[in-house]
């Protein structure tokens, strides 16, 4: 065990490099996925079929094809068509497309779940569709989206592990190298589990903070006690005062 720990410490810089690649893939993939999700999700939520139907086709296509095959396609097929992408960009694109398609459906359904009365009140005030979406519907849909987007973000983090297939030395790849260096499969993969778990937990804390902020903006939660409530995750939306 002491030997293993010594190896682990001497191997820390390489693990750190792997973490950085995993972080870049997660951050880049999530940013791209959010952008794609907003564009496709809003298109699917729009009353115009010429917008909704193409968006739906794109979403179903990328949800219905494997992330690994999408990754291979970008890495091996795209160069045949004359476009060369470096492995990191390939990884980010594949993750953004795949998780963007899943998240688009979250965006669409959250918009559809905003109370009918809100749309009606905005219509009664003759607000333009863009204004209505930006100022009234989206801020309320955002709160509904966050829990599902948080789950997808953590899945995306774990999904980054597939990039080791296209020569990227991410966290998973470095852990495999650690396994070879220590010769201890149990030790290396347990370190791997713990590192991914800590990353996922940090993401969840971040998303909980976002959710808390969104709930405060809608008057569903109090501003105070934020950090404690985020860490304990015991907060529940307050019942609205009606009647």
């Amino acid at each position: 065990m002491t030997d293993n720990l010594t190896t682990l410490f001497s191997y820390a810089p390489q693990l750190w490099d792997g973490l950085k690649i995993t972080f870049l893939l997660t951050a880049g993939g999530a940013a791209g996925a959010l952008l794609i999700a907003l564009v496709l999700g809003l298109a699917m939520a729009s009353p115009y079929r010429w917008l909704g139907i193409p968006a739906r086709i794109v979403v179903e296509f990328f949800r219905g094809t494997s992330l690994l095959v999408q990754l291979f396609w970008l890495f091996y097929v795209l160069p045949l068509l004359g476009a060369n992408l470096d492995p990191l960009s390939c990884g980010i694109f594949a993750l953004a497309l795949n998780y963007g398609a899943y998240s688009a459906e979250v965006v669409r359904s959250s918009i559809a779940h905003v109370d009918r009365g809100q749309w009606e009140a905005a219509t009664a005030l003759s607000l333009s569709p863009v204004r209505m979406m930006r100022r009234i519907i989206f801020p309320q849909a955002w709160l509904l989206m966050i829990p599902s987007l948080a789950t997808l973000l953590i899945q995306l983090l774990k999904g980054t592990a597939v990039v080791s297939f296209i020569t990227l030395q991410d966290l998973t790849d470095r852990i495999d190298q650690l396994r070879q260096a220590t010769g201890d499969t149990f030790f290396a993969y347990t370190v791997g589990l713990l590192l991914y778990f800590v990353l996922a937990w940090l993401l969840q804390v971040g998303m909980d903070a976002l959710e808390h902020r969104a709930a405060v903006a809608l008057g569903r939660r109090e501003k105070s006690g934020r950090l404690r409530s985020v860490l304990s995750r015991r907060h529940r939306p307050k019942k609205e005062v009606l009647g």
């Binding site: 809100q118 009606e120 219509t123 903006a217």
Partner: protein, 273 residues
């Protein structure tokens, strides 16, 4: 005649002032096979306060929703101050107006809902100034000044920066009334505005509406079960049954000497309640 290809006239024009504030011409509304309104014709004069009564499902709320363009009519025409609202007649064809034009037509129509429908992501003041700024093009300072005056009028001068969720139902509904008034409506639609309120909160809301009815000349269409309020505020009551107007007259007449058996039955059921 409104609804024909005659050029719409401006309201400032003397001739336009004589136009009904609201006119239903052969209106039909069906949801699938369910016909809610059929061949409905009536008009409301500018400044008139009309209460629509009738059993639930008789189509009265649908009428308000059609005027607010929350539902689309399946046939016929609605004109507001002589201007076609959503469809116009061109020759023999019934043509839907562009959405932008419809939105412009509804600018001066306000609606207050049963469940208030305040925007929870905005403060009370923001709820009120949003549309005056972005639809009517008012400056923020002017809109805010107006919002404060309206809040004072409905007895909520100190609630400007509150979140709607912190208010009682009666307070929320009074903010909703202020929000509708901030658009300087020519027509105000009140859809069972006290039905979701606890009994002790009803009076404040009705008091605010009474004051508005007394001090403005806004045309009002009211759907309510508050018969005393209907009697005090409106000049005219229309009794609906199965999507048809079965009785139409001044409140004193309808409430004390209903001509139709259904009206009598409905009124006794409501008053007993």
């Amino acid at each position: 005649m409104p609804g024909t290809d005659e050029t719409p006239q401006s309201r400032a024009d003397g001739a336009a002032a004589a136009q009904p504030a609201i006119e239903f011409i052969d209106v039909e509304k069906r949801f699938g096979d369910n016909v809610v309104l059929q061949d409905l014709n009536f008009s409301v004069a500018p400044g008139e306060r009309v209460t629509l009564i009738g059993p639930s499902g008789s189509g009265k709320t649908t009428i308000l929703r059609l005027i607010m363009t929350l539902e689309s009519l399946t046939d016929g025409y609605i004109c507001v101050h002589g201007r076609p609202l959503t469809h116009e007649k061109r020759g023999d064809r019934r043509v839907a107006l562009p959405k932008k034009q419809v939105r412009s037509n509804t600018k001066r129509i306000g609606m207050v809902f049963q469940h208030f429908n305040l925007f929870p992501n905005m403060t009370v003041a923001e709820n009120i100034i949003e549309a005056p700024i972005h639809v009517l093009g008012m400056s923020r300072a002017d809109a805010l000044e107006k919002a404060r005056a309206l809040l004072k009028r409905v007895g909520l001068a100190d609630k400007e920066n509150e979140h709607p969720t912190k208010l009682s139902g009666g307070q929320q509904q009074r903010v909703a009334i202020a929000r509708a008034l901030a658009m300087d409506p020519e027509v105000l639609l009140l859809d069972e505005v006290t039905s979701a309120l606890d009994p002790e909160l009803v009076d404040d809301v009705l008091g605010a509406l009474r004051e508005i009815a007394e001090t403005t000349d806004i045309t009002m269409l009211i759907v309510t079960h508050e018969m005393q309020f209907a009697r005090d505020v409106s000049q005219r009551v229309m009794m609906f049954s199965d999507g048809q107007i079965i009785e139409d007259g001044p409140p004193d007449e309808i409430f004390t000497r209903p001509q139709h058996e259904r009206t009598a039955k409905f009124l006794s059921a409501v008053l007993e309640h």
